[in-house]
Structures are given as C-alpha cells and as structure tokens.
Amino acid sequence: MTEEEIKKTVFQLLQRIAPETDPSRLMPEENIREVLNIDSFDALQFIVSISEKLNVDIPEEDYGKTSNLKSLLAYLEKKVKK
C-alpha cells in the first residue's frame, strides 16, 4: 500500500465519521479531533475502522500518535510495511 493510498483511506474513514467536513483540508499538524469535531466514541470507531481496513494493530498506548495527520500517516506507513 502506497503512502497515497493510506492517505486516501484515512480521509475516507474520517469522512464517514464526520460527513459534513472535508478531511483533505486538514493541515498536517492540526489536531484531527478538534478540527473535525470528533468525540471520544467516534475517535475509537475511527481507530477500529482504520486498523481493520489496513489490517494493522494499534495498541492503546499508541493512540496519541493518531492525533494529527502528520504523525498518524507516518505511524500507519511504518505499521503497514512491517
């Protein structure tokens, strides 16, 4: 899976949770949850769906790395390559 494909999947899943927003407009270091107004429950659903879609395990202690696009994409790329 290429970097571009991971990004696309992330945007798709974010869009499903926050349908009225445009995740592709997120700046790399903006807090995703704050900007898209995602609550704790939906944040968990997002992590569940991303782990299922990319077939990676995201332990709870890594949740912090999913807070902005830059760190989330870097984290996922590393995980997918493994």
Binding site: Q12, Q15, R16, A18, P19, E20, D22, R33, E34, N37, D39, S40, F41, A43, L44, Q45, I47, V48, S51, D57, I58, P59, E60
Partner: protein, 402 residues
C-alpha cells in the same frame, strides 16, 4: 382486549406520525416485537409491544399524525373484557375528538401521478433522507412495491467505495445521511421544549466532587492491553457502571417526580448522545445495574450509532430513570446538567485530565474528573445528593469490583 396507544417517548413529545405498521391484523404478537415505526422529532422510532396477543384491529392509518395516548390498535390477549363489545365503538369516535394535527402530506404525489411507483411510506422516508432516486429502484415487496430493504440495499451500494476514480467520490460526498434542516429544526424545538419545562418546573440544586481516576484509568488501560481493538473499553463504560451502583445505594435519585417521588425498580441510565447536526438524543441503557462493564460498552457501541442514525426503539427512549452526560476527551472541565423531566437527577462528568491532587499529606499529579450532580429539590435534599456522589467516588476507587 388491550388498547395499544401512541407511546410517550419523552417529556418533549406531544404527537407522533405512524409511518408504517410492521404487523398485520391477525398476527400473533410477543413481548418486545416491533409493531410499528413512528416518526417523532427524534427521528424514526421502532415501537415495541409489551403484551402478548393477537393484533385485532388497526385504528390509525399509515401517515397519520396523532397525539400521545391515542389508541393505535387493539390487541386481543384472550382475556374476557367486560367492555369488549362497547370499546371499539367508544374508542373510534374518541379518536376524532383528538384533533389530528397537521396531517402529513406526502410531497411525492406528483411523482406518483406520473409514474405510479409503489413504495411503502417507510421506504419512501428513508429514500428521501438519503437522496435515493426511487424511480431507479426495483421493488421486492408485495406487488413489486419498494420496501425498506430495497432502499437500504441501494444506499449501502452507493456507499461502497467505487474504483472508478475521483469523480464518483466527489459526488458521494454530497450524499451522506445528513438530517434535513427541517429535521434539525424539529430536534432543536424538541430540546427547547424539554429543557424549558425542566428549568420552569424543577428547582435544581447542584453538588460537585473531584474524583481521583488513577485506579479506574489504570484498570481500563490494563484491561484494554489484552484485548483486540474492537473489544476495548472507553472510561465512560466504567463511569456508567459506577453510577448504576451508586444509584442502587441511593435509590431516591433513581426515580421520577409525578405527584410525589416515585422510585423506580429498574435502573435504566439515559446516556446523552450529541448529534453532529445539533441537538441531543438520550437513549437508555436498560437495566444498567445488572450489566457488566463489558456489556455496557457493547450496549453503547450499539446505541450511539443508532441514536445518531435516528434508529432507536421506543423502550430505549421512554424508559430512562436517570441521566448521565459526559463531556469526554478534549472538552470542558465541568458540566452542570438540566434534569430531563420527570426524572429527578442528572450527573455530569467533565473531561478526565491530569491535575494536582493532595492525599494523605502528599501532593501528586493524577487523572481527575470533576463530577457534578443536579437534582430535583422537591424530590431530595443535598444530603442525599452528597451521599450519592460519595458512593460514586467509592466505586470508582474500586474499579475491579465494578
């Protein structure tokens, strides 16, 4: 003979529109069966029956809007009823006395004249909400009519990620099931009505207690470590369970105020779910006290998406005995709730955040949550409320026993 009435699904509900009968005359009904779909300000609600019997007669037509309490149908439970022979005659005119408010006009008359599309009212409603063009659908219902299933299939097909390039994704961005402005407006008015009533009629008193969440958060973390991601817990599941246990100890708060304090046997905690389009829905976690923390989490996982999609059942909207509102991560430190009448209390959890906390002469940094209780002063006094918060705190310090 049992009279099946338009249920009251909350303090803010005055009327509902019977959208679709799910059962036909002559069908056998069991407790918990869904008999009809009713449209309210909170969306389309599945109405359950609480009796056993045969559906004898339907009194309200699909598409009719009737006040709460209107008899919708007769259910024959086999019990001899003295007034059985007279009831139907008595009831039918009674219904005409109830002014049937603005009858729901089907805005699709035009299409029907032109193309004669056979579609059930429920299917039409869902199609409308999701912008599905019904003229493109093939019906699988009786006489080829389009039913709910057909529309839902069309929607899920539309959601499948298309490989055909960007254009399609661009288009589908417009489609997500977003309640119309009219719906959002009705929701706003429903919240306005309930909260005005609360503020007008209920003399609230407020208490607050800071609680140390170290043990609870450690327990959640340890539990989650061993679990696949789908089975992980949110701290709120633990908070809900702790509230249920505290209510068990202070039953005066698990009650309603209706001509005096009425304690409730079941503890059904209503959980405030906010909607992205604005407004809130408060589905009940039925028999919260008898559920484990895992079961509560499963229930939340099921309830929140359904609440947001306006797909709740009548029991989930009408049976709450107490309410919890939780701000969650990244939000305000404290929340002071308004009681949902006729309940007598609401507990509010702020964000769990690291704070300086003193204990046994030592100062440390711990995850802290500020918990507030708003309670009805007609029903209880501060001492009871204070006892409740103390009990809640005690349970949160022993998470493994929850």
């Amino acid at each position: 003979m049992i009279k099946f009435q338009m249920p009251n699904l909350g303090a803010d509900m005055e009327a509902g529109t019977l959208v679709e009968w799910r059962k036909q005359t002559g069908e056998l009904l069991h407790r918990g069966d869904i008999i009809a779909d009713v449209e309210t300000q909170k969306g389309l609600i599945e109405i359950e029956v609480f009796d056993e019997g045969t559906l004898e007669k339907l009194l309200v037509k699909e598409g009719e809007k009737v006040p709460v309490g209107t008899v919708l149908a007769f259910i024959n439970d086999g019990k001899a009823d003295v007034s059985e022979s007279t009831t139907p005659e008595e009831e039918v005119p009674k219904q005409e006395i109830h002014p049937i408010e603005d009858r729901v006009e089907t805005p699709h008359e035009k299409i029907e004249e032109g193309e004669r599309i056979k579609i059930s009212p429920l299917a039409r409603k869902i199609a409308e909400a999701n912008h599905v063009d019904i003229s493109l659908l093939k019906g699988t219902g009786p006489e080829g009519s389009i039913v709910k299933k057909d529309v839902e299939e069309a929607i899920s097909e539309g959601e499948k990620p298309t490989q055909e390039g960007e254009k399609k994704t661009e288009e589908s961005k417009e489609i997500p099931a977003k309640p119309s402005t009219a719906n959002a407006n009705a929701m706003r008015m429903a919240v306005a009505a309930a909260m005005s009533k609360s503020n007008r009629e209920i003399p609230h008193y407020y208490l607050e207690k800071r609680m140390d969440m170290s043990k609870a958060m450690d327990w959640v973390k340890e539990t989650n470590k061993e679990r696949p991601i789908q089975k992980r817990l949110l701290p709120v599941a633990l908070l809900i369970k702790a509230v249920a246990k505290a209510l068990d100890e202070v039953p005066d708060l698990n009650a309603t105020w209706e001509n005096g304090l009425q304690r409730k046997n079941e503890i059904n905690i209503g959980f405030v779910v906010s909607l992205r389009s604005g407004g809130i829905v408060v589905p009940a976690i039925l028999q919260t006290d008898s559920k484990t923390v895992d079961q509560i989490m499963e229930t939340i996982n099921d309830l929140i998406p359904r609440a947001r999609a306006f797909k709740l059942r009548s029991s989930e909207l009408s049976q709450s005995t107490f309410t919890i509102t939780s701000i969650g991560e990244g939000g305000a430190d404290k929340v002071f709730g308004l009681i949902y009448p006729p309940q007598v209390g609401i507990v509010g959890f702020g964000e769990i955040s690291e704070q300086p906390f003193a204990e046994d002469g030592m100062l440390g940094i711990r995850p802290i949550v500020d918990v507030t209780l708003a309670a009805d002063h007609r029903a209880t006094d501060g001492l009871i409320g204070s006892r409740f918060l103390a009990a809640l705190n005690k349970h949160l310090q022993n998470p493994e026993e929850l």
